[in-house]
């Protein structure tokens, strides 16, 4: 419980964070920044878990534990994505999204 701040304000903040991530995911040209956008989305949801746990069920810990899981998952996912991007770079010498569009009709 944070004094002077109400749950709606914080939920608005995390929604903004989520949609910024989403917007970045759709529009960035560079695969690394796309990855950063994914991190933003994940962080927005992790923040949501913690806050809802704190505000609505202060006696329980599930939300916090889920957040830890999400952080671990995000780390693994980032490692995997970075590996893919490095391999892609070795293959086509580029990390631009527009160069990965060969898998089409």
């Amino acid at each position: 419980m944070i004094a002077g701040i109400n749950i709606y304000e914080i939920l608005t903040l995390t929604s903004i964070l989520f949609f910024i991530g989403l917007y970045g995911f759709f529009t960035r040209e560079n695969l690394i920044t796309v990855l950063l956008s994914i991190e933003l989305i994940l962080n927005a949801s992790a923040l949501n878990f913690v806050l809802i746990n704190t505000y609505l069920y202060p006696d329980l810990l599930q939300g916090a534990i889920f957040t830890i899981f999400i952080i671990a998952l995000a780390a693994a996912e980032t490692a995997l994505a970075i590996a893919i991007i490095i391999n892609l770079y070795k293959l086509i010498y580029s990390v631009e999204v527009k160069d990965t569009e060969t898998m089409k009709y």
């Binding site: 995911f25 759709f26 796309v34 999204v97 990965t100 569009e101 060969t102 898998m103 089409k104 009709y105």
Partner: protein, 638 residues
Amino acid sequence: MDFSYTILIPLIPLALFVILGIFSKKIPPSISGWIGSLGLGTSFVLSWYTAYSYFLGGKLNGVYQTFIYKTTWLNFTDKLHIDMGVLIDPISVMMLVVVSTISFMVHLYSRGYMKGDDGYTRFFSYLALFSFSMFGLVLATNLFQMYIFWELVGASSYLLIGYYYTKPSAVAAGKKAFIVTRFADLGFLIGILLISYYSGTFDFQEINSLHGSIITNWAATSFMGLSVITWGLILIYLGAAGKSAMMPFHIWLPDAMEGPTPVSALIHAATMVVAGVYLVARLFPVYYFVENGFALQIVAYVGAISSLVAAIIAITQTDIKRVLAFSTMSQIGYMMLALGVSKYDGHEGLGYMASMFHLFTHAMFKALLFLGAGSVIHIVHSNYLKDMGNLRKHMPITHITFLIASLSIAGFPGFAGFFSKDEILAAAYENNMLIYVSSVLVAGLTAFYIFRLYFGIFWGKDNTYEHTPHESPWSMTIPMLFLAFMSIAGGYIPFSDYISADSIPFKSHLNLPLAAIATSIGFIGIILAYVFYKKENNLPERFANSFGVFYKWTYHKFYFDEIYLFVTKKILFGIVGFSAAWFDKHIVDGTMVGIGNTTVAISEKIKGWQSGKFQDYAMSFVGGGVVIAMVVFYIWIN
């Protein structure tokens, strides 16, 4: 009496066919000819022995007995089963003698005629196959067995007509013969099914039984004013007419002369083409008793018309084998009309006996004519009358035997053809005046065209030949001499003691007034031919010109081939086939092609959705998720 050994008569040629066919590359020609001739010689001896013992001891109380040895081949149900076996009765024994004699002679002759040919062994294996099939047909105990062998002789005839398979005309002739007879055989098959459906059996003896269901009960069913049985018999006759080259199915026979000449002698003169006559004779009681012989009337008239038309065409042909082919057709017409005018009991059944008698003598002298023609063609290397002439000094044996055969077919007194033709004319005279008059006319025409051939080949103009003509080797002349002997002696066999419609021997005698009429007409024909063709002159040309259009029509065989071509090419292929093809191409194919094209067009439009940009996919995914969420939310709040 035990005749079970007769099964060997067809089995020996079958074995020959298998051996010569499989090892045709390994067996040298010098041996294969002997193997074939020896095998057929055995069948020949067995057949004559069978005839000897059957006609001497086959009678019980004055009636010739029928001996049947059979085994069930295919057993479907108690009623529907197909037997295989041999049936020994007067006509089958007579046919055995005819087939084995001609086949044996042709084997001997072919050893000389086909010498040096590439497919020598193949030729003998085909001959053996044909002999096997023909023996099987003759000995058949039931309609279905006969049908099987009927098709087998058709197939071996096809193989032998197309023997020179590098020659396009021979291939076409083989195809034509096969297709035309197959077409007629469709009628035969439907006829068999009709008859056996109503009689409950395929067996000849049960079908022919005077107390059987067919003969006593034919009136029970009718279709379009005729008994169904009569329709069945007419359809069976269709098959017989196809095989025996009766009008209008005769078009294949002249073309079949593309085959080697011994084949023409064996298949297209003496044996296979008379299978139709044999079939009608085999079912004679049914033909005679059902619907008072309505189907038999058709047999008679078709035979009479065919014999007249063929004799007229034969006069104008220039290919000697084609003259003989039309002559064969005309003589088979004789046999058919004799069967057609015959009655059943005793002396009334004269026509039946006469038909079989003529079948026998005709086989001998017509095979001889073909062998003689083959001997000439062998030397001259041409089929055409214009390339021949004045050969009598060079080929004395061929000349004499050809003359004997010509006199025989022309009905010269004392020769075999005279006796059998006289019986036919007597039978026709007693029963049908119209047919009698046409037969007498045919007798005159026959004498004319055969002596036109004789004088054209052996007298007439003095041709210059590339090689000096010489007599054929002994292997060819010995069979000719034997057949010449048969062409005279065959007439003195007392046929009515052996063969009659009701299997009871009767006494027949020469009908002198009728014989005198026929003989004098024949004389006129011979004398006309003598005047026209003995020495080269312009009489034939002037005569032909005076007939004008009629001569042209006859020369073109009354345009039968052209009519068939018109019907098949223009009407069947042109109109029916063309519209069917249009429907198939545009409606059936069009539907399928349309479905395919529509799919392609749609996919062409929507394939851009798969752009390969993962951000687009993510956008669609999120957009879809949002839409679903909105829908769920909307439903939830309501």
